[in-house]
């Protein structure tokens, strides 16, 4: 059973068709990267997977939970799916530790001590254990994003979604975040990333999906997608972004 299974998903924002009969699957341990121009529907596709965006038609099953069911248990779903956002979305009034332990205590009902231990483990993995008691505004953008990754990681999700997580960072801060993501991938986390970092995608992706105007235009191995694109749209996209 795939960890993520999307079948014939369509979605419109008013008159605008954002997702047009999109189908894809992600297997356990796979790292799938979605690329495409702005407005191609990539972020929307990602956000449908954890119930942030409702869809008009189609079926989505994530971690054996039917996301599209009317009575879907979002609480259970969101413990299995982690998501990291472009603008970090850390909670500014809470310390780094509390940012991470909040959901652990409130949703997973861990004790404060247990939650703290898990938080420390996650922070160690992203290399920020010394920032346990800092507030988000005391951290750089790259550090904040790493904390955001730790926050999702601490929930032990079955799959992690990354929505253009380096787009809002200054160039010199992107590296530390990409490093953490590569490390996660090496440890076997099932991941779905939307990104503009083509070099990174080529290095890390097990499979690449190219979206164009709401449809999946092409998909395949990174070497083939970047080295020898089949469709003109992908060819144009690759030449524009890789120069």
């Amino acid at each position: 059973m795939s960890v993520v299974q999307a079948s014939h998903v369509s979605k419109s924002f008013g008159p605008l068709l954002v997702l047009d009969d999109v189908s894809f699957a992600v297997e356990r341990g796979e790292v799938v990267v979605i690329i495409g121009r702005s407005g191609s529907g990539k972020s929307t596709a990602l956000r449908c997977l954890n119930g942030l965006e409702p869809i008009d038609s189609g079926e989505i099953i994530v971690a054996d939970i039917e996301v599209t069911a009317r009575d879907v248990d979002l609480r259970r779903l969101r413990q299995e799916v982690g998501i990291v956002f472009q603008h970090f979305n850390l909670f500014p009034h809470l310390t780094v530790e509390r940012n991470i332990t909040l959901a652990l205590t409130v949703v997973k009902k861990l004790s404060r001590g247990e939650a703290r231990a898990v938080a420390e483990g996650a922070l160690r993995q992203v290399g920020l254990i010394d920032k346990l008691h800092a507030y988000p505004e005391q951290l750089s953008g790259g550090q904040q994003q790493r904390v955001a990754i730790a926050r999702s990681l601490a929930m032990s999700p079955k799959v992690m979604l990354f929505d253009e997580v380096t787009s809002a960072l200054d160039p010199e801060l992107k590296e530390e975040v990409l490093h953490v993501i590569e490390d996660l991938a090496a440890r076997g986390m099932t991941m779905l990333l939307v990104t503009h970092e083509m070099g990174f995608a080529r290095r890390v992706a097990g499979r690449v999906i190219f979206m164009h105007a709401g449809r999946i235009h092409e998909s395949g191995l990174p070497a083939q997608m970047f080295g020898d694109p089949s469709t003109p749209e992908l060819r144009q996209f690759v030449s524009k972004t890789l120069g």
Binding site: N50, Q79, V81, I83, N89, L90, F91, H93, A103
Partner: protein, 222 residues
């Protein structure tokens, strides 16, 4: 002014404080309910809360006090002047503070709410952990201003015979026939109360919002 008069003023000032704090506590609670009501997905709470806020904010406090004190007994509720005063101040403060807090709630970035929901928190948990304290922190200066306005406005309850600072001053000056002197001192006492409450509420903010103590006051909405 005799020593006994000062004592009377002190007692009046104390009662003004009690009325104000009661108005704050009950009023803020009701105000929060109003704010949530205005954001409800159902049309009835939204309409009721909006109508309530507009009615209070577009009519004078004095008229509201008269309606409460003279009107409610005609419906069968027996109210003392003090009880009517607290009720009127509560209803009044709720409308204003509710709007202030609502602005704060709406200013919480959508992204943080999405992040919290994505971690599995329910709507109520998101509100309790992510929204309410930052909203209060952002709107604290406005809330303090509104509190001072209410505290000073409580002088109006003297019109229905409630015992507080202004009514104490009225009593004294009607006996001593030195109104300017009496009201002069009374005004200074009110000024002192304003300064004391403002400082006190700033202290409450420091205690309530831990982040401020550590990082400083940067999380503001101007």
């Amino acid at each position: 002014m005799a020593a006994g008069d000062w004592l009377l003023l002190a007692g009046g000032a104390w009662r003004t404080c009690l009325y104000s704090v009661a108005g704050l506590a009950f009023g803020l609670t009701l105000g929060l309910a109003c704010a949530l009501g205005r954001q409800s997905r159902h049309i009835l709470p939204r309409l009721l809360a909006s109508a309530y806020v507009e009615l209070i904010r577009n009519t004078p406090l004095l008229v509201q006090i008269f309606l409460v004190f003279f009107g409610l007994p005609s419906l069968g509720f027996k109210l003392s002047a003090g009880q009517a005063a607290i009720l009127a101040l509560t209803l009044n403060f709720a409308a204003y503070s509710g709007e202030i807090v609502r602005g704060g709630i709406e200013s919480i970035p959508r992204g943080q709410i999405e992040a919290a929901e994505s971690l599995g928190l329910s709507r109520w948990e998101v509100f309790a952990h992510i929204v309410i304290l930052p909203a209060l922190e952002k709107t604290w200066p406005s809330l303090v201003s509104q509190f001072v306005l209410m505290m000073l406005g409580s002088s109006i309850v003297s019109a229905i015979g409630a015992d507080e600072l202004t009514s104490a001053a009225n009593t004294i000056q009607s006996r001593t026939f030195r109104p300017f002197e009496v009201y002069g001192w009374t005004t200074l006492i009110y000024l002192g109360l304003t300064i004391a409450f403002t400082a006190g509420l700033w202290g409450v903010a420091q205690g309530l919002f831990r982040r401020r103590r550590v990082v400083g006051i940067t999380l503001g909405v101007r």
